[in-house]
């Protein structure tokens, strides 16, 4: 730290460092629920998380301090890729797409117990390509159908992995 580059501390980075320190503290505190040593005197289950947690807390605090003292714009330590090459409009568009894609993944995971794994993922592909990416419907349908076909061939026909079928499971219907 002989000649710190004069720069403003970057908020997301400081926040992330804070989270790191908090994580260390949490694990360290949590480790007090476990034994430091076993009955036979060997190393207990609390040792590793407590020591590691404490170290992480210290390193985290060190990182926060480093950042607050003007930061260091060296490679590999923070936001190098800024958003400057995106216009505000683009940035908003990108953010919305990211949220949509993540939400779609979550929704897919939620409907898997109902529709089964393969069907849910196929519908997800269709939704992402046709609606989110606005590709032509024909192509999207084609890609989704291929996804279903290839997955079915490999996972069900070839490897016989028991994928969940949700409500389409014949076992559900045989009970009714």
């Amino acid at each position: 730290m002989s000649s710190p580059v004069p720069a403003v501390p970057r908020r997301p980075v400081t926040l992330a460092y804070g989270v790191i320190a908090a994580l260390g503290a949490a694990f360290c505190v949590g480790s007090f629920a476990y034994d430091w040593s076993n009955e036979d005197g060997s190393i207990g289950s609390a040792v590793l998380p407590r020591v590691t947690g404490l170290l992480l807390l210290l390193v985290g605090l060190w990182l926060v301090r480093q950042e607050l003292r003007g930061g260091s714009v060296r490679e590999g330590d923070g936001l190098v890729v800024a958003d400057e090459d995106h216009s505000p409009d683009e940035a908003r568009h990108i953010r919305r797409k990211l949220v949509t894609v993540v939400a779609t993944m979550v929704v897919t995971a939620l409907v898997i117990p109902i529709l089964g794994l393969l069907l849910s993922l196929t519908l997800m592909t269709l939704f992402l390509t046709a609606v989110v990416e606005k590709q032509s419907l024909l192509r999207s349908l084609l890609v989704s159908a291929m996804t279903f076909g290839v997955s079915y061939l490999i996972f069900v026909a070839l490897l016989r992995i028991p994928l969940p079928l949700g409500l389409l499971d014949p076992a559900v219907w045989s009970v009714l």
Binding site: L55, G60, V102, L121, L128, T129, R139, I161
Partner: protein, 510 residues
């Protein structure tokens, strides 16, 4: 040995065996390509299919799956940064960067070639000195393993790049995540908060799929969709210079992989990391590592393959599993009515030597299969990203589910996908985190075992020649930034400049 080889060739070189070997490596490649599904699971689910075969044919096919999976896993790692197996995580670092620069073809080809060469070398070593290495490996008890794990943790320094505290923090987070679940020492359920799913710990493979595949995908979406990569035909082939640069790393990777693979339980994943760490320390091009250097692709691949072959040393010579997949294979021995154990070489020479010879055949088949396919696979990157990323999500979630047939895995992938995205945006290094995650449990196990063995003597048990050598090596590694920094000041480097421009497309794997 020549006589034994003859027995082996006579046994293995029937049309039927070669055919099933081919089926095995092909299936293995597919299983390897799929993220999540590893060779251990692949072999286990295909054991019932082989029940009607003769024992040798069945084992040849299963071993083919094992070898094929190693090859296949690298393909997805290079093309879409999705590790197909735990041991191919490290291939995502440089392999994926090569792919983004339009050099996916050479990356795939050199990885196949490096894997092939190291497989051949390690197989010869396996045949010639298996019993010797097996007994050497037995001398590696908990204290020696502890030293190796310390060495492993020290490579975090190498993986951290210039911001050492940050790399250290990532490594520590990895170790802490690995603490979740039932610990091997006392069987205490740690940080499970009443969730039974967490009893088994945070699943490693799923975390990798999330961090690397989904994290990178969201990052690409953030950057405004990766453009399809149209490589010229010339760029799809290996150049003479590529081959020259790959030679030394292949040799280093093979040696590291073979030695670590001999030790029961050290694992191929650790071998790949150590090989990459060695490149970061010793390679002439070490500064380019992480930006798509061929050394970073070929060394870990060579190590993985050497280790997976060396895994057979304790398996065949002693009857104890060298790794997860060989443990499943040992189970398969019993299914076919063969008793594995120290007398296997004596009692079943035809089977053992036939199997070993089939490894050669399998690796030749894999090379013949993979080299011509490398440019073809590279063409997959021409798919428009709007179609590409839904497919990546599908394979990631499907693969994650099939690891344990569990929805929990799917959620882990999604959650760690978000974590991975955040890390990419903040430019946090991922490799130390993975390293901590891999080594954490192994380190703790060795630590607890050593503490039992030590009893009242304290850690005096660590004072054996082997442990001391390894610990000195670790100390050299930790202090390497110091003496390397001095070297750097003497030789100013120009090529470092102008790298920031394409930084947008590369992760933070310095």
């Amino acid at each position: 040995m020549i006589e034994n080889l003859q027995i082996g060739f006579e046994a293995a070189l029937s049309a039927e065996n070669v055919l099933w070997c081919f089926v095995g490596v092909l299936l293995g490649t597919i299983i390897g390509i799929l993220p999540g599904l590893g060779s251990a699971t692949g072999v286990a689910i295909l054991i019932p299919v082989t029940l009607t075969f003769s024992p040798l044919t069945a084992l040849i096919m299963l071993a083919g799956i094992y070898h094929g999976a190693q090859f296949g896993a690298t393909i997805t790692a290079i093309l879409i940064a999705t590790p197909g197996e735990a041991s191919s995580v490290i291939s995502t670092l440089d392999g994926y960067q090569m792919a983004r620069k339009g050099r996916a073809g050479p990356a795939l080809a050199i990885s196949a070639l490096g894997a092939f060469v190291s497989a051949m070398v390690s197989l010869v070593a396996l045949m010639a000195v298996a019993p010797f290495f097996a007994h050497l490996a037995l001398d590696f008890g908990p204290p020696e393993m502890l030293a190796i794990m310390i060495l492993g943790l020290c490579t975090i320094v190498v993986f951290s790049g210039r911001n050492l505290p940050l790399g250290l923090a990532m490594g520590l987070i990895g170790v802490l995540i690995a603490c979740i679940g039932v610990d091997v020492g006392s069987g205490t359920a740690r940080y499970t908060f009443g969730s039974v799913e967490l009893f088994g710990g945070v699943p490693f493979v799923e975390v990798m799929i999330g961090l690397f595949a989904i994290g990178e995908l969201l990052n690409q979406l953030h950057l405004g969709m990766a453009a399809p990569i149209k490589a010229r035909f010339r760029d799809l082939l290996l150049t003479k210079q590529d081959l020259k640069r790959a030679t030394a790393p292949t040799a280093r990777g093979t040696v590291i992989g073979f030695l670590l693979g001999c030790l029961p339980g050290a694992g191929t994943t650790l071998a790949s990391f150590m090989a990459y760490g060695a490149e970061k320390t010793f390679s002439r091009n070490r500064k380019k590592l992480g930006t798509g250097a061929i050394e970073g692709v070929v060394a870990p691949d060579a190590a993985t393959n050497a280790a997976s072959n060396a895994n057979f040393i304790p398996t065949l010579a002693l009857g104890v599993p060298g790794g997860a997949t060989t443990a499943v294979l040992l189970g398969a021995f019993l299914v076919y009515g063969i008793q594995p154990g120290p007398l296997l070489f004596e009692n079943q020479p035809e089977l053992v030597w036939g199997l070993l010879v089939s490894f050669f055949i399998g690796n030749v088949l894999l090379l013949v299969l993979n080299l011509p396919l490398a440019p073809v696979f590279a063409q997959l990157l021409r798919i428009r990203y709007a179609f590409m990323y839904p497919l990546i999500i599908v394979t990631s979630l499907l693969g994650a589910y099939s690891v344990k047939n569990s929805m929990f895995s799917v959620w882990v992938v999604i959650i760690f996908g978000l974590v991975g995205y955040a890390m990419k945006r903040l430019n946090f290094p991922m490799a130390p985190l993975v390293l901590g995650l891999v080594i954490g449990p192994l380190f703790e196990k060795a630590l607890v075992q050593t503490s039992v063995l030590a009893g009242d003597d304290g850690f005096a048990v660590l004072a054996t020649p082997a442990t001391l050598t390894i610990l000195v090596l670790a100390a050299t590694l930790v202090t390497s930034p110091l003496w390397r920094g001095r070297l750097r000041r003497r030789t100013p480097n120009a090529p470092e400049q102008g790298k920031a421009k394409d930084h947008a497309e590369k992760g933070s794997h310095e």
